[in-house]
């Protein structure tokens, strides 16, 4: 099981007013993932509260999140990884492995075209937010031929996509967009999005093939969103 470091910025632990002391203690003691999450009711509310002279009885303290900086307190959150993806309408059902980045800065793709690569630095399809990216070769040397994702360009908006997870559960998505874009025109920062709404993006290659560069001209990019209902 892999864990993803869950940076402290995502923990909105605002501590207000007289509760500061008590929560400081709680924050120091927890040192783990179950520390209290206290949302400030309104970030602006404290600005309207009366500023009083530092008087032990009535002074009003601002909202300051405090946590232990001990190494053991660094929050890590288990990531439930995807292990398979299926698009029944095009008869695709492939296993998925976590992948990273190649030396040239491009996404690593499993050599076998029958295996999808999930970009492990981004969101998982199990996460409530962010875009999970799964890519597979349209054809590959290791597979000596076409792979299942060669049919990705035939997907229709509205088709279901099922992602199976390492914990045995499944996440269901619905295709919302199918596009083929010339590689230089793809804004990858708009695809590999860490936050925001939950999305699943399936990617392969398409277009024409440049034998000199051993590269296709386009990427086929299928976007899906969580199925409603």
């Amino acid at each position: 099981m892999s864990v993803r470091h869950r940076p402290s910025r995502r923990v909105t632990r605002a501590i207000a007013g007289a509760a500061l002391g008590a929560l400081l203690l709680a924050g120091c003691a927890s040192g783990g993932t179950d520390e209290p999450t206290v949302q400030a009711p309104d970030p602006l509310s404290s600005s309207t509260s009366p500023r009083t002279a530092p008087d032990a009885a009535s002074r009003s303290l601002p909202d300051v999140p405090v946590r232990s900086a001990d190494l053991s307190a660094l929050e890590v959150e288990p990531v439930v990884e995807p292990v398979g993806v299926a698009v029944p309408s095009i008869d695709v059902a492939i296993p998925v492995e976590p992948v990273g980045v190649q030396d040239d800065g491009q996404m690593e793709i499993p050599p076998q075209a029958e295996i999808g690569g999930w970009y492990r630095y981004g969101a998982s399809p199990a996460d409530d937010e962010g875009t999970a990216v799964i890519a597979a070769h349209v054809d590959s040397i290791a597979s000596a031929g076409l792979g299942p994702f060669a049919r990705l360009q035939d997907v229709q908006v509205g088709d279901p996509v099922e992602v199976s997870l390492a914990d045995g559960t499944t996440r269901s998505f619905t295709v919302t967009e199918v596009r083929r874009s010339p590689k230089p025109s793809v804004q990858w920062e708009d695809v590999f999005v860490r936050g925001g709404g939950q999305r699943l993006v399936l990617i392969t290659c398409g277009g024409t093939f440049d034998r000199g560069a051993q590269s296709y001209s386009d990427n086929v990019i299928v976007t899906a969103e969580p199925r409603v209902g």
Partner: protein, 271 residues
Amino acid sequence: MRKRLIAGTAAGFALALSGAVPAVADSHEAQLSVLHGVPGLTVDVYVNGDLTLDDFEPGDLAGPLALPAGTYTVAITAADAADDSAPAIGPVDLPLEAGKNYTAVAHLDAEGNPTAALFTNDISNTAAGEGRLTVRHTAAAPAVDILAGGAPVLTDVVNGQEGVLNLPAGTVSAAVALADTTEPAIGPADVTVAEGVNTIVYAWGSAADGNLDLAIQTIDGLHSAPAGVPSGELGLAAQQSSTPWVVGAALLAAAGVAFAVRRQTVSVKND
């Protein structure tokens, strides 16, 4: 008596009036965190004369706070002080520039006297697949070497100095040794350097008192997207109709190369 701080080197300590602070950062704001690295001293922190952090404990990290750019005056007192008239550290002025990210650290100087430093955190984007490791010497100790995986990566770091490395995301076995010695004074400890995150490690405490320790701060959201998705190798799915011999040649080539190509393993652990 006031000192003006030079970011990254000298004295300082902060925390501000978050009552006047919007929750969302914008281009007119600075981000400020505060680390308490003075062993055995619970303190109160006053900003511009107002009590801002009550009973702040050693080893704790406060923030980050989004503050309007400007200069903040900070005084640190004993925890039972009635006001900031007799600070243990400061008062000092912290000049915070818009768009920058700072950590003010109350710590011991090399001789063991309480002081403070304002560091500017590197929040430039990291390359896809990489994280950033920042190491800061804020301990009452002479010059140190920083070891990663047993090998020195930063040498002769003195109190108040820092070193910054970008490296593939993963886990680093980090240790601190007094300069010209090989035996770790701190660690080794496994530090996760997550992708797209600046992981800041502070050496704090006192070598003489035997309480040297590490403190960790992380700043996330620095990631970059991969440069592309190279997801095809043969041209069999190309739009243009290929002549049969071309496809045949591609397949023959594939069959031959398939045995020669081995997947390069990635040694970096998932994070």
